[in-house]
């Protein structure tokens, strides 16, 4: 019997955030193993959070990820405020949601236009795309800039915002300061709707998810900045039970930890949020989704770019709604009273669910911290997709198969820096 050996290697996966590698073993036409190797150097955040003051958690955990700092800040204050049951004014909650909408718009526009669309259109990057379709790339950059404008105005800075704190903000912007933002966002809404129509016309390879989905759910609105958990098979569970359902284990090929939900692989992020919380999207976002050919759930990871575009429409609308009914919180922050306790915080980073847990002492010093980022929760589902996409496309030439594998990973907008952890693709056929 012939014994076929083929080896493919990409020394570095591009257009993802962070560093990793991919290794695929195909033995006699059968995919034996598909590993997303994450070798981003570990930075030990959970260790050095011990002994820090509670107020520092927002500034320190922000530095885990330059792409989604608001997600880290939010899950941190959610957890600390949960531990002490800090009453937070609705006006502060609205301002926090506005800030987070800024991060969704900016991060989704970055991924759609600069990282993901070049895959569908056959370009190495957005700069090359701009040589042929400059107005398109300019539209993406304008959309991204609108998100950053929110982050800068409300957060004080686009990357690692300085204004948020446990309890609220150092200073709440005035209504007059927010007004010019609304004008910019009205243009952004047109750009976001055009984006949905643009990406809907791409060609999508066939692939259907076969794992459970998990997302934050909030009874009042499409969950972004707070809520509890909802999954496809188990109706829902409170955030304080997160670690009873999600367990992390370490594998030799990764500096990220693998997470499992009740012992099974699962997926968080845009596809999960959309499929689980569809009814809470705005009518405009739902109509845009329908016009783009999406149903009330979406299980094709390659179509995640359309879902991100729909979520961008929603985030822009939400930002406009919040600015339209803005009532400046005074004082800008609740004053927390420290006490010994444990708190749990979740929020929806653009790429998926982010959980924080802190154990605090009577003085408000952090005694223990656990952080479960989106990419470690999604890693097993990504590897499963790789296994299936390689199995279904073994007839492809090495270069085409490699490229399809890279696209499969980019469908998830993985943030490898967050998960601790970049990509080097090795496909070994033997």
């Amino acid at each position: 019997m012939s014994h076929r050996t083929r080896q493919l290697r990409v020394s570095s996966l591009a257009r993802v955030e962070g560093e990793g590698a991919l290794r695929i073993v195909v033995a006699d036409g059968h995919v034996e193993d598909a590993q997303l190797e994450i070798y981003e150097p570990p930075r030990f955040f959970e260790a050095f959070l011990r002994g820090r003051a509670f107020r520092e958690a927002v500034d320190i955990t922000s530095r885990i990820c330059g792409i989604c700092p608001v997600a880290y800040q939010t899950s941190a204050w959610n957890a600390i405020e949960d531990a002490w049951q800090v009453p937070v004014d609705d006006r502060i909650s609205a301002l926090r949601r506005l800030l987070y909408c800024g991060e969704w718009i900016s991060s989704h526009a970055l991924h759609i236009y600069l990282l993901h669309a070049p895959d569908f259109l056959g370009y190495p990057d957005a700069v090359a795309l701009a040589r042929d379709q400059r107005p398109t790339v300019e539209r993406g950059l304008a959309l991204k800039k609108a998100g950053n404008a929110i982050l800068e105005l409300v957060g004080g800075r686009a990357i690692h915002p300085v204004n948020p704190r446990v309890g609220g903000f150092h200073r709440a912007p005035t209504a007059a300061e927010l007004a010019p933002l609304a004008e910019r966002l009205r243009h952004a809404l047109d750009d976001a709707l055009t984006t949905v129509r643009w990406v809907a016309g791409f060609d999508f390879p066939e692939l259907q998810l076969d794992c459970e989905l998990a997302a934050v759910h909030h009874p009042g609105h499409y969950a972004i900045e707070q809520g509890d958990l909802v999954t496809t098979t188990r109706s829902s569970f409170p955030r304080r039970d997160f670690l009873e359902h999600v367990t992390e284990r370490q594998v030799p090929h990764s500096t990220a930890l693998y997470a499992e939900l009740d012992g099974r692989r699962y997926l968080t992020g845009p596809l999960a949020r959309y499929s689980l919380n569809f009814a809470q999207l705005s009518p405009l976002a739902r109509d845009a989704a329908a016009a783009a050919g999406l149903e009330a759930t979406c299980g094709n990871p390659f179509r995640s770019i359309v879902v991100r575009a729909v979520e961008t429409v929603y985030a822009v609308e939400e930002a406009l709604r919040i600015i339209g009914s803005y009532d400046r919180p005074d004082p800008p922050a609740a004053d927390p009273t420290p006490g010994a306790g444990i708190g749990h915080g979740v929020s929806e980073a653009p790429r998926g669910l982010l959980y924080h847990r802190y154990e605090l002492d009577a003085e408000g010093v952090i005694r223990d911290a656990t952080i479960i980022p989106p990419t470690s929760q999604n890693q097993a589902a990504i590897e499963n997709d790789l296994r299936r996409i390689v199995s279904a496309n073994l007839g492809l030439e090495d270069a085409a198969l490699t490229s399809l594998c890279e696209r499969t990973i980019r469908n998830y907008d993985p943030c490898i820096s967050c998960s601790a952890h970049f990509l080097d693709l090795t496909v070994e056929h033997r």
Partner: protein
């Protein structure tokens, strides 16, 4: 066209994202330089040598200590961007702790993880032509540094304190007026006094300015009611190694 390369070591990606955050300038810049290596943004990788390399992140593994030497060999000008690359970053807190203990706090099977006991700035490993400060860097400063090196001139990056930027913006001093502890008097300028603008004290993202008078500020922080632990913490963040070094130098 001159070539630009962007490299990542241990970091959060935020400083290289700053380049993509130059929404109004990115396409113009791409018309003036060849972006030859920028993995976060492009799957096209062109071979070196490179005219200007921007390096983000700190050195925390034996493999990265070797990789930075290769980057240096391929780069005519090497600019480090951000607190991780210029000072070791927040992950340099390990330099003052037991790394074995850190590893076991985060990882159940610490033997799988290869890591150095220290997180060190790029300049501790290879010669660096310019260090751009910040956690994260400021995009106007980044554009100034790229423009300067492409034009073959020295970047115009003032080495003064955040106080000078704060005064220039006409902000009220949060320390004098409100008694809010602020690291502005010792912190390298560059952010544009973002924190005082939101009624918050500076927390030192840009690290110490040259000749920072740390003893004088420490005395002031104590007068504002901070104890030794609290004072220790405010300097032990993203630029911990740089503030420790500045503390050991006599003020100018």
């Amino acid at each position: 066209m001159p070539s630009l390369a962007v490299w990542k070591f241990a970091s959060c990606d935020g400083c290289q994202l700053t380049l993509l955050d130059c929404e109004d300038e990115l396409l113009t810049l791409a018309g003036q330089v060849t972006i030859a290596h920028f993995l976060e943004a492009s799957s096209q990788v062109l071979p070196g040598p490179y005219d200007v390399s921007l390096v983000e992140g700190s050195i925390t593994t034996p493999a990265d200590a070797e990789r930075i030497r290769q980057v240096r060999e391929q780069s005519r000008v090497l600019v480090t961007i951000g607190a991780c690359a210029t000072a070791g970053g927040i992950q340099a807190l390990r330099n003052f702790a037991d790394v074995e203990q850190f590893r076991s706090v985060v990882y159940a099977r610490p033997e799988y993880i290869e890591t150095l006991a220290t997180s060190t700035p790029i300049a501790a490993h290879v010669p660096v032509d310019f260090e751009l400060r910040g956690c994260p860097i400021d995009k106007r400063q980044l554009l100034e540094v790229i423009s300067a090196f492409l034009a073959g001139r020295k970047p115009d990056i003032p080495d003064t304190s955040v106080c000078t930027e704060c005064k220039r913006r006409g902000l009220t001093c949060v320390m004098v007026a409100d008694g809010t502890p602020c690291l502005g008097p010792v912190t390298h300028a560059g952010c544009g006094a973002l924190c005082p603008a939101v009624a918050r004290g500076c927390y030192g993202c840009f690290g110490p300015m040259t000749g920072a008078n740390l003893p004088a500020l420490t005395g002031q922080l104590r007068r504002l009611g901070m104890d030794d632990t609290a004072v220790g913490r405010v300097f032990a963040t993203f630029n911990v190694t740089a503030f420790r070094e500045a503390d050991n130098e006599p003020p100018h």
